[in-house]
């Protein structure tokens, strides 16, 4: 890539919009999955009894079971959330930049 193309794309408002939006979104979602997982691991490590409480009086199933399933589901849901926005907004911006420079 020629230096003037690099400079032109870097200065392009759509490109600026894309990298700013993606950066904020991707790192927020990363922070979300890290908080969910390490939140879970911290409870396991420091307050394991919280997860061993039955979901309701007289039940054998503990709170830990739905919590575990929720952590698994959240991983899938968060990837879905990313795909939904990336397929829409990010791909549209990318296409506009590509059209201007390719």
């Amino acid at each position: 890539m020629k230096q003037h193309t690099v400079d032109a794309i870097t200065a392009h408002p759509r490109y600026q919009e894309l990298i700013r939006a993606r950066k904020r979104f991707a790192w927020s979602l990363t922070a979300a999955i890290l908080s969910i997982y390490y939140g879970f691991i911290f409870v396991v490590a420091f307050w394991p009894d919280w997860l061993a409480v039955p979901v309701a009086e007289g039940w054998t199933m503990t709170v830990g079971i739905p919590v575990g399933i929720l952590v698994i589901s959240s991983a899938f849901i968060l990837t879905g959330v990313y795909v939904a926005r990336a397929n829409g907004q990010f791909d549209r911006l990318t296409k506009e930049i590509q059209e201007d420079f390719e």
């Binding site: 870097t10 691991i41 490590a45 830990g64």
Partner: protein, 577 residues
């Protein structure tokens, strides 16, 4: 020639099965005996995959065909192939066994293997698709000194592949010995020969299809097993948990976090290794070059995360249901685990299982689906191993041919035909080494090896990959030193840990009861909590204080790299077929 080779392999593979079948027919019991149904089903799988390999070999002409199946795999197919590459026999049999023995701890453990996937989605998948071509070293060396960074990345890839491969080969040998009644060495040789055939003749195309078929078989087999097991409890999970607590020697302790992760530092360290290790496994990263663009790369992760998460929920159900259902089947237990009336002694439920807790899922298959389903699940377990080792071998061979040979030794001046030939030779050599080490490590304790592979991937590959994508100030020197620091510290700390220092090297200490027990020099089981920060610190420190000429070019090239990374302008396209 290819057709002949494929039939030759089939013939070679049939021989050990034939030999092994003879003694069982004359009445000698070889562990669980030779399982004819399993062998028949497995032969169907082998014949089908060799047919695919033959077809794939005709389409494998260019380097792009060999490394990335031409780059034309759709996101959904690639998602299945990733799941097939990642869901190893160790996670299927190991985690269901862990749930059987420890209950809830098994779920905690499996979650660790899943949460790396969102990280790959947000930070890695599209980026490496846009920046790379065949291997993840294409990305980490994009704007840096090719020779140094590729050498470093190839070494860490090969170390990860080697440990992962040895663990898989030893596990495969033992499992197949148990399931099919084959001798250990025959099992290892069969796995090795098949994986070499897939990769050498069919390259990434054959490997991808083996992984897709295996994923479909494993997911449908596990689904059937979980549904059939739940049916025994009238589809009430609560009923299943209630009976499991009654039957298990650990009682209601199986319903919450147990002793497996009672040490906070070790729990967090393991979590780090699993999460970021997934995002640094060379055979997984390589799969993102098989899709045509960034959009398909992100779709692959979405599908893969769904399949893998669903699979871990199934293994959890399988493990819990097995507590109750296996206890009703004394035939799965050693004679000494049974009471006078032939029922299973409660305190022998875990330790008395014939073949160990790795056999939980296999035994449950027989309990819920009879001999036919047992045969199916055994064949699926074998197929599972093949799909994983084929992916690993291809990644290892690519590190040798694409990184070390084409870009370091030939300095980018090799031609494609030679590069493919080098990959095929590398596959052959890796396959032979894997067979040799698989046999050599038969009676060694290899439990630490998968953990170590994840720890190295998390400490050497992941930090360099993330920094090369997101941190414009990283330099060749910083990446080199950071990568090696992660590699050396991960390996070094593992050697000092109990798993190697005590269990493998045999160092012991006398405990309070006066008994000699294996010990480590450090109390850490997994090095990630120290080795990942060491890698990131070295990357930062040696980049920031790098005043060399090279550092200036490295930093200046970031803007162009970032444009390609974000927009895909200039990225490698799919080959036209």
């Amino acid at each position: 020639m290819t057709r002949l080779a494929v039939w030759g392999v089939l013939a070679i593979l049939l021989v050990p099965f034939g030999l092994a079948a003879a003694p069982a027919l004359s009445g000698t019991v070889v562990q669980s005996g030779v399982n004819t149904t399993a062998i028949m089903m497995f032969m169907v799988f082998v014949t089908a995959t060799l047919g695919i390999t033959y077809w794939a070999s005709k389409r494998t002409r260019t380097a792009s065909d060999f490394y990335t199946a031409g780059g034309g795999i759709s996101g959904r197919k690639n998602g299945l192939a990733i799941a097939g590459d990642y869901m190893s026999a160790a996670s299927f049999l190991g985690i269901s066994g862990l749930v059987f023995a420890s209950g809830y701890d098994g779920l905690i453990y499996s979650i660790g293997f899943l949460v790396g996937w969102p990280v790959i989605m947000f930070l890695i998948a599209e980026q490496i698709r846009n920046l790379g071509k065949y291997t993840f070293s294409d990305v980490t060396s994009y704007r840096f000194g090719q020779t140094q960074i590729r050498t470093m990345a190839a070494i860490s890839s090969l170390v990860v592949v080697a440990f992962y491969l040895i663990a898989q080969m030893v596990g495969a040998g033992k499992l197949i010995q148990l399931l099919f009644g084959l001798d250990y060495w025959m099992a290892v040789v069969s796995v090795g020969v098949l994986m070499m055939t897939y990769v050498i003749f069919g390259g990434m195309t054959a490997t991808t299809w083996v992984q897709i078929i295996k994923a479909v078989l494993l997911l449908s087999g596990a689904t059937f097993m979980a549904v059939a097991a739940l049916a025994a409890f009238n589809f009430s999970p609560e009923e299943m948990f209630r009976q499991a607590v009654e039957v298990s020697p650990k009682g209601d302790a199986i319903m919450g976090p147990g002793s497996l992760l009672n040490d906070p530092i070790n729990a967090i360290s393991l979590g780090l290794a699993l999460m970021f290790g997934t995002a640094g496994l060379p055979h997984i990263l390589m799969r993102f070059f098989t899709v045509p663009n960034a959009k398909e790369a992100r779709k692959s992760v979405f599908y893969a995360t769904g399949f893998i998460g669903y699979f871990y929920i199934l293994t959890f159900i399988i493990g819990f249901a097995a507590i109750v259902l296996l206890a009703q089947n004394p035939q799965f237990f050693k004679p000494e685990a049974l009471a006078a009336d032939g029922t299973v002694l409660k305190d022998q439920l875990i330790s008395g299982l014939a073949g160990g807790t790795n056999m939980v899922a296999i035994n449950l298959a027989e309990a819920v689906g009879g001999n036919l389903f047992l045969g199916f699940i055994s064949a699926v377990a074998f197929a599972t191993i093949l799909a994983v080792v084929a992916g690993l071998t291809l990644a290892g061979a690519s590190a040798i041919s694409h990184d070390l040979y084409a870009n370091v030794i030939a300095r980018g001046h090799s031609n494609e035909a030679t590069e493919i030939r080098v990959s095929r030779i590398a596959t052959l050599v890796l396959g032979l080494v894997a067979i040799g080490l698989g046999i050599a490590f038969e009676s060694q304790n290899v439990a630490f090896m998968v953990g170590l592979a994840f720890a190295i991937a998390a400490s050497a590959n992941f930090p360099v990959l993330v920094a090369s994508i997101f941190w414009g100030k990283m330099t060749t020197r910083g990446a080199m030193i950071g990568g090696f620091a992660g590699l050396v510290s991960a390996v070094g700390l593992t050697i000092l840990s109990k798993a190697v220092w005590g269990d493998v090297l045999g160092f012991t200490a006398i405990n309070e009861e006066g008994v000699a027990v294996p010990v480590g020099l450090i109390p850490l089981d997994n090095p990630a909590i120290i080795s990942i920060p060491i890698a990131f610190f070295c990357i930062w420190f040696f980049s920031v204080f790098d005043k060399s000429e090279r550092a200036k070019t490295d930093r200046a090239a970031y803007f162009a790299q970032r444009i390609r990374c974000e927009t895909g302008i200039g990225a490698e396209g799919a080959a036209n077929h």
